[in-house]
């Protein structure tokens, strides 16, 4: 697979052309793991979501997957998506998404490609699209951020890759007879839990070829890679928090895909990736630097999702809810600022009834 310049143009043209404005900074807010049904949800999820957006005024909102709390009835899917995109629509902020392992529940029984099309159609500000059927996954897309409204040089680029749903798809695709799952019960495991699919090799090749094509056109271009569940190398954050300058908390096991797809090593070898961001582990909010690349969690904004293991105290359980904000300076992309925003600074805890 190699990507022609024509194909590259098609991949890089999106619903919106994002660029640095006159102020010379570009802000991205990452929200992950809403796990909320628009009707029966803890109102704080959307309250915090809106207030953080209002306060930070981002140029792009990036949702890191796992929107629904459970399978959404087809009749309600559009309403849920409207509720979700309303905060951005109202303010005219572009947003996008990479799918998480639960996002086949956005509309019960609907195949992923139609869910993806539904979002493209029904959410006016949503930039999601998919490269196509040639590779695995459904929200594989690239968003370039240009140097200015009139300048066509790309300052940095966001690669979204679909890390897939649960491991059963891999077991079926490769006739593994549950071989990977069996190891969940094995006594000593290489990594924590491995119930999830991975970014597949054809997706990694797609990133690799795309990155090369971008380099041909634009020179080496700093990149962020966004996935729902992260790369296996995340575990070094947990193993060497001091050495990796980990900022934030790793309050739960690092849960990643079943086998190491080599995505991190590919990004490292291409030399353009400056950050890997993911969600999926709701109460991990850490970010550190490994092999010169920043690895970070986007946390979880969803109050209906699992929280820390403190079931008796609402304050404790939701202590780490929040979002991650990345702020880029036009003249110093590589040293962008990354900060975890706590939802508790925006919404009040529920008064506890004992």
């Amino acid at each position: 697979m190699s990507i022609t310049q024509n194909e590259l143009k098609r991949i890089l043209s999106n619903k919106f052309r994002l660029s640095f404005g006159t102020r010379g900074t570009f802000r991205i807010l990452l929200f992950s793991d809403f796990h909320s049904h628009y009707k029966h949800q803890d109102p704080r999820t959307y309250e915090a979501f809106e207030k953080i957006i209002d306060d930070k005024n981002p140029d792009l909102v990036y949702l890191m997957g796992d929107l629904p709390g459970g399978p959404v009835k087809p009749a309600e899917a559009v309403e849920m998506l409207s509720a979700l995109s309303r905060p951005m629509d109202k303010r005219g902020i572009p947003w996008t998404l990479v799918f998480g392992n639960h996002d086949d529940s956005i509309c019960r029984g609907m195949p992923m490609d139609r869910i993806e099309k539904l979002m493209e159609k029904k959410c006016p500000n949503c930039m999601i699209k998919n490269y196509g059927k040639k590779i695995h996954g459904y929200s594989n897309h690239a968003i370039p951020v240009y140097r200015s409204e009139s300048d066509d040089s790309i300052s940095f680029i966001l690669y979204g890759l679909d890390a897939g749903r649960d491991i059963s798809a891999m077991n079926e695709d490769y006739e593994l007879n549950g071989d990977i799952i069996e190891f969940l019960s094995a006594p000593k495991r290489l990594t924590a839990r491995r119930r999830f699919d991975i970014v597949r090799f054809d997706q990694v090749i797609w990133y690799w070829e795309l990155s090369k094509a971008v380099e041909t056109m634009n020179g080496k271009t700093p990149a962020l890679v966004m996935t729902h569940s992260g790369v296996q190398e995340l575990r070094v954050l947990g193993d060497f928090p001091k050495n990796l300058d980990v900022d934030g908390e790793l309050a739960e096991e690092i849960k990643v895909g079943a086998i190491n797809s080599g995505l991190f090593t590919a990004g490292f070898q291409r030399g353009d990736v400056i950050g890997f961001y993911c969600g999926h582990n709701h109460v991990n909010t850490g970010e550190g630097k490994y092999c010169g690349i920043r690895f970070g969690y986007a946390g979880s904004i969803g109050y209906d999702a699992y929280g820390t293991k403190k079931p008796h105290s609402d304050r404790e359980r939701n202590r780490l809810r929040g979002a991650r904000m990345l702020t880029f300076d036009r003249d110093d992309i590589i040293n962008y600022r990354s900060e975890y925003i706590y939802a508790s600074d925006y919404v009040a805890p529920v008064i506890e009834v004992k």
Partner: protein, 350 residues
Amino acid sequence: MTENELRETLKTKKPIAFKRDGTFRVLFFSDIHCFLDGGDMRSLDAMEKMIEEKSPDLVLWAGDGPAGAKTRDDLIKLIKVFSLPMESRGIPWAVTNGNHASAACRDLSLEEIEDVFEKCFDFCVTKHVEGIHGNTNYVLPVYSTKDPSRIALNVFSLDTGNDMSDIDGVRIVRGRICSDVIKRALPVGVTAHNYDIIRFDQLAWYWDVSSSVEKINGKTPAIMFTHCCPHEAKIIRDNPEETKMVGNFTEGIRTGPLNSGVFATVVERGDVIGFYFGHNHNNTAEGTYCGIRMGYVGSVGYEGYGVSGHTDAEKNKYRGARLLSFKEDDILNYSSEYLYSSDYVKHYNS
């Protein structure tokens, strides 16, 4: 890959095919660590006797073979001695580079050493691919005996490279790697796992060849061999029962610092049924994970390090080689056995 490119990729100096009785045997030797001034010649003796007894159809050196030659002529002389068991019988043989590959010859570059293997021996079928990392990246098609135009089995070699200084910006810390940036904050004295890895362009090459072969030949079973193991070898060690492990892990798993993704790649491509490697002299284990048999081929070189022990017999306890026996009508269920050198040459108890 175009059909012409593929045809070129599949060419071998000598034809390799299943025997008329429908069998095919591969014998792996690894970590021979042999020198021109001889040293402990039991390495060669064991190789000779194993080949005589097992009569393999293909011999594969899984890295870290010849060492210490000064000139090109010395290197040729050295390889001649150790390839005699194959050359004298007309058995095709091939090599994959180990991390000590560049120590084979003082005067020659890795490309020139590769050239010696490719040009100077009648039965050495080693090849290389231009334009990607590493030298010993190639595929050897093994043809069917029933239908001589059909490939029954592919043998892939990927070069796991030399040492890690070839990877920019990477340093190791207690067996894990970290960037230059954080190295400053860490204790000194880190040397383990100091190897390069299979690079992404090598994986993409394998993927391309395997997909192209599938188009003309159907899904074709393959074995892959490298010098250093994929990270997933750990899963065999940590789950001996589930992986039906046979053999042992006497020493730690030492391999490149970053997970290249080679294992996930072969799982996804679906053609590799066996993955073999050397490098850790005292590991002889083999197990099955994700439907792929992964195993060490041990070390046949008496000049290489062994296990710690006071006697010669203790030190060389695990010396040996691995033999794979294929039947054309049941390739997936091939048999794999570890041959102990001590059954072929004398070990001393003092």
